[in-house]
Symmetry: C2
Subunit: 350 residues, 2 copies
């Protein structure tokens, strides 16, 4: 049960601990091949494996990263960020401490201290959604912000490129022939930054397509299935010539609600109404009938990026600004050409 130490290897190989250390760390430059092999064999024979704590105390590097998050670990949503961060850490021989603070400031402060006391080599501060946050004062410099941006800057950060994601979504709709495209936005006192960014993308595409934005098509609702359904109902209650033929939804849950509203009126997707979501949320986007075309959040890639800069493997291109990670569109079956009646620039046929 007792761990075998470097001195056991030294004894077994008949050399000093210093030699063992050199060999095992591949500082093998000035070691004879014979002793090198002897040491290596002795090490495997006695089953030696170095004590990282002792090594860390001596070298001042723990090969350990602290990842603090509001609740990405304990919530369904952004777990792929962890996967990305983990993978990079593992590829480089690091272990990660994970702390979910539940957005409690006291817990957060204590977590930062505990991680610092454990001598982590770096920290990552992650949020479940793209947000602007006040960086806790005790955060060490160089801490990487993941899926959030520190209000005052000063830290490397990576966030999704929500504007470009909005562009991709609406372009897909325009490319299918739609011209009356609604944006189902969030309805909150302090909307997430993504809300505005995606809206900007939406407006950009309308502009480049020569479409006058209709304010009546920018509706808001709760970011839930129910909210999406209610917002869609309002849209579908518009007179037929002002009614949208396509919906760009802030997220997939709202899109799911839009499906319900459409089905209740006997509208088929995408024949009668095209829909694009956002998030590519498992259990929602792919399970809908028909499967939802949506914009994916690059959680895994952001996680990798953050860990790479935390480990010093990568340096942010522009240290001043957050790194914008592209949001790829996932083409499924909820987008089609507008219905014939609406296609000819909202002129009725019957």
């Amino acid at each position: 049960m007792a761990r075998v130490r470097i001195s056991d290897v030294a004894a077994a190989a008949g050399v000093s601990t210093a030699t063992v250390s050199l060999v095992l760390n591949n500082r093998t430059a000035r070691i004879s091949d014979a002793t090198r092999d002897r040491v290596r064999q002795a090490a495997t024979e006695v089953g030696y494996t170095p004590n990282s704590v002792a090594r860390g105390l001596r070298t001042q590097r723990s090969h350990t990263i602290g990842l603090i998050s509001d609740r990405i670990a304990t919530t369904p949503f952004a777990g792929r960020m962890l996967a990305g961060a983990q993978d990079v850490a593992r590829e480089h021989g690091h272990l990660v401490f994970l702390v979910d603070t539940d957005a409690d400031e006291t817990v957060e402060r204590e977590a930062i201290r505990a991680l610092a006391d454990q001598q982590v080599d770096a920290m990552i501060y992650a949020c479940m959604w793209h947000r602007v946050v006040d960086a806790p004062a005790s955060l060490p410099r160089g801490t990487v912000f993941l899926d959030c941006r520190p209000a005052g800057g000063g830290f490397p950060a990576v966030v999704p490129d929500d504007r470009a994601g909005g562009v991709s979504a609406v372009r897909a709709l325009v490319a299918a022939g739609h011209r009356r495209i609604a944006y189902l936005d969030v309805d909150e006192p302090h909307p997430p930054v993504a809300s505005d960014l995606r809206h900007r993308g939406y407006l950009e595409v309308l502009s480049e397509a020569g479409i006058d934005p209709d304010p009546a098509l920018h509706v808001r609702g709760d970011t839930s299935s129910a909210g999406g359904r209610a917002a869609t109902d309002r849209l579908l209650d518009l007179p037929e010539d002002r009614r949208p033929t396509a919906l760009f939804c802030f997220n997939d849950r709202m899109a799911a609600g839009a499906y319900v509203a459409a089905h209740r009126r006997g509208l088929r997707i995408p024949q009668d109404l095209s829909i694009v979501g956002y998030d590519d949320q498992q259990l929602v986007a792919a399970e809908l009938d028909p499967p939802l075309t949506t914009v994916a959040l690059p959680h895994y890639e952001m996680g990798r990026w953050a860990m790479e800069v935390a480990l010093g493997i990568r340096t942010p291109d522009d240290p001043g600004a957050p790194h914008l990670m592209p949001c790829p569109i996932v083409d499924r079956d909820s987008v089609g050409p507008p219905p014939a009646t609406a296609a000819s620039d909202s002129r009725r046929r019957t």
Copy 2:
């Protein structure tokens, strides 16, 4: 930027490092009140906070727990287990290393070694679903199994009480007056243990209610929305007097598929068909229309339990057998009395 050490505090307080250590660890028995206060004040003044690595090296306790999982951290499903484990760890001043192995044996082996090298005080081995697993040979004794059971025993373990969960689900249906109750089971070559356990619960309730189990009502399908829909279609294709009035589904996604199948035939839930799911999966159970009555998996509680035994705060009641955690039923709106035509023991009225 340089960390302040215990010797800095000692200097500031005009005492030896030993005294500082004693005071800060509340071994204050044989220390005068005066120096105690002086040391404490000096410590806060210089902003001292002990180096856990150095302390761990000396005391042989790292206040660190390793949590190895197949993929609970990076997948939507069982994250609440982490929350439970985390909370307990934090309440007791421990930090947790999280490693997702993606069920890769090599990764797993290396993770175990890395955690051992980091001198973790204990390990938890967690699975995303209730499974029977072969314990990796290198796992230290005393490792706690979370949401899985080691094939050979020999480790403390906690799993959901799936049999009792099946009982609760089917009892709810029987209590509502149903007698023709189907079980939508998993269709896999190696079904999860929960499949059989829930089926046992199902049979138990039928037996206690004096209902003869009808093999035609035990159907199988893919554990997905599509699978649930297909299985339900087969059930609803039965002649009316053999058709079930209620469905107990292996999971919420299958239940979601059952909703689709029912809706396509114009059947209302729960007026025409009652449905109970399993998992209480966020974004599925609560978002369905009407909200799904289901059995919740006690992820959070299992996570707490596992960490409590890992920390030695709790001892398993019966060290031989896995601890069975109750699965509470979550009553929502998908269960009602059977339709009148079927109520009188499957006799047609028209």
